[in-house]
Symmetry: C2
Subunit: 356 residues, 2 copies
């Protein structure tokens, strides 16, 4: 591996001149510049970003800790974050916490050791001590998808309450009153908020929530199937199901099929998260599409902003709204309906901002 000094020697200049040619950081005469360029080429010189990082104490690298890479929802998030990072000259180190706070902490430490310039995180658990330390040290960090309200951290969220409300209201509008809920992993904000939206829609329908109708599906396919089984076993079966995320919706569909139940004939179904293949499922699924790509992109952009500005006292919060896509799994309809976000939408991307 060649160094600036090798190049310098070969070009008959000093290593600082080489450095300045590489970075365009000061004027270099045409003559010398050419000689340097040629020497670099001949030697196959490749700058050493590690040494550079050590010197300038910046790595142009962002860490991204995602709780479950294999969920297509997060795959889109990653893509959004990667695009935004790349567009700003940053590179992404990807880590998969598997919803495990211990793994999360290990990665946090590792990324910190690698001196990433900022951190993007879907928190797997609560505000554990290591996370608090990071925040106290004012390290640039952005939470996405999930909120830890006890921590003053810039955050990008989906409007889960509104999404669930829209989904369940849709069922109510169609006359359903016994609506089962397949809820996600307990103790994370998305689950709570979606449950809250479900409850609000049912309260408005003047019935309130029957606790029996809420089953935990742990945000996974098998969990969704189990929860559905559980709801089907009830004395008074629900007439409709609300599923809290894409994976659990798949589980619900397969459990329903196993019982020979038709959707929507025997059971209506609405889910959160759209699928690229939603138009190809039979029945075509009514869903609330969440802007996964934008969630990733906006998070990375916010992180870059935080990195530049230093942390403000009141961390910024961004809430992105979803879109109810009415298809046929609750009965036949057509079209898509934009959700009125609890925080007002601001532009065409249905992106809303609140906080400082």
């Amino acid at each position: 591996m060649k160094t600036t000094r090798d190049v310098a020697r070969r070009a008959g200049v000093s290593s600082s001149t080489v450095s300045h040619v590489v970075n365009g950081s000061r004027f270099v005469s045409d003559d010398k510049r050419q000689r340097v360029l040629q020497a670099m080429d001949e030697l196959g010189y490749e700058p050493n970003a590690v040494a550079r990082s050590l010197k300038v104490s910046r790595s142009n690298t962002l860490g991204l800790i995602i709780s479950d890479i294999s969920n297509p929802f997060f795959a889109e998030v990653i893509r959004g974050a990667e695009d935004a990072a790349q567009a700003n000259g940053y590179t992404l180190i990807l880590c998969n916490s598997d919803e495990d706070p211990a793994k999360e902490e290990t990665y946090l430490r590792e990324l910190r050791a690698k001196r990433v310039d900022g951190l993007l995180l879907t928190p797997a658990g609560q505000a554990h001590e290591y996370l608090r330390k990071l925040v106290r040290a004012r390290f640039p960090i952005v939470f996405l998808d999930r909120d830890i309200s006890s921590l003053p951290v810039a955050t990008v969220l989906l409007d889960n309450e509104a999404a669930a409300y829209a989904a369940v209201s849709h069922l109510v509008r169609l006359g359903h009153r016994r609506i089962g809920a397949i809820s996600g992993r307990p103790f994370i904000s998305t689950t709570m908020e979606r449950l809250a939206g479900y409850a609000r829609a049912l309260r408005e329908a003047a019935d309130g929530v029957d606790e029996q109708l809420v089953a935990s599906g742990s945000s996974r396919i098998d969990g969704g199937a189990n929860a559905t089984e559980q709801l089907l076993a009830l004395d008074k079966r629900p007439t409709a199901l609300f599923s809290g995320n894409n994976l659990m919706t798949i589980g619900a569909l397969s459990a329903l099929a196993a019982h020979g139940l038709e959707v929507p004939g025997d059971m209506a179904l609405v889910g959160i998260d759209d699928f690229p293949w939603a138009d190809v499922l039979r029945p075509r699924l009514t869903t609330v599409a969440q802007p996964a790509y934008d969630l990733g992109r906006v998070s990375a952009e916010l992180l870059l902003k935080v990195m530049q500005a230093g942390l403000p006292t009141v961390p910024e919060r961004v809430v992105l709204s979803g879109t109810l896509r009415v298809r046929e799994s609750c009965g036949s309809h057509l079209g898509g309906v934009a959700i009125q976000a609890s925080a007002p939408s601001v532009d065409g991307t249905a992106l809303s901002r609140a906080g400082a």
Copy 2:
């Protein structure tokens, strides 16, 4: 940010002692070790991996350049690679080339600059110069999913020829003779090989290939839909369709639905790549499941091996076999059939190895 020297000063030892405590690289008396540990804790010391990398010229980081992160197939690949990397103490830098050789080259250069210890790559194009250079410099690199035969590089592939052959033979067995093919991005090995398997199956059926029946779907959803349209417009329509990857299969399904055609009643359909939600699609799709997770995992493991061993003269090649999953989209059946790989299978994971 604290350094070893800060810790050393506080603990009243030398910085080399601190280093050795951190790395367990030589014996340190219990007394001093305790003092060091305590000082580290009090100061909130975090080792600087950048400085370490500069010194030891290893970064414990692998680069992964994927051609399309949003394809769920590659999402699984990434997960496999990440798991294997993590299990061996490596961290993954993820890049998305978007099938663009120019982007690929940029990333290659960037990762090289960051001094990753090895590189995992789904080549987007041909053997362009920069890639050749890398290989000539004997930089540890593994290709996955796609072959560039002109380059002597360790490679992990799927047995695409056998997969396509199995899929199309299945249709032949059911009596189909006019079988349309929706092929993927031109000029990449996976596409060629799948086409070859398709052709072999048709030759065996004693008809050979009708060129009109092959339409390019560019490996994307919209491409799959377009190709399907094209095949439907033919004077003599095919009675069955073979789709070259998951995305194009979705496109095909939606185009068929748009024409009011039932699967398999009006048109049989078999695709390469299984879906987690395949059991939930109606009709349930007959597919050849490709071991995406293993592709990622095995590639990373092979890369680590290459990094340790130095490159052998004849680069290793690994071929992974898929599994035909017969469901109902070609007519009703049940069960799964393991494919006889062209290279013989070796163990329960249907993994086969060839070459040195």
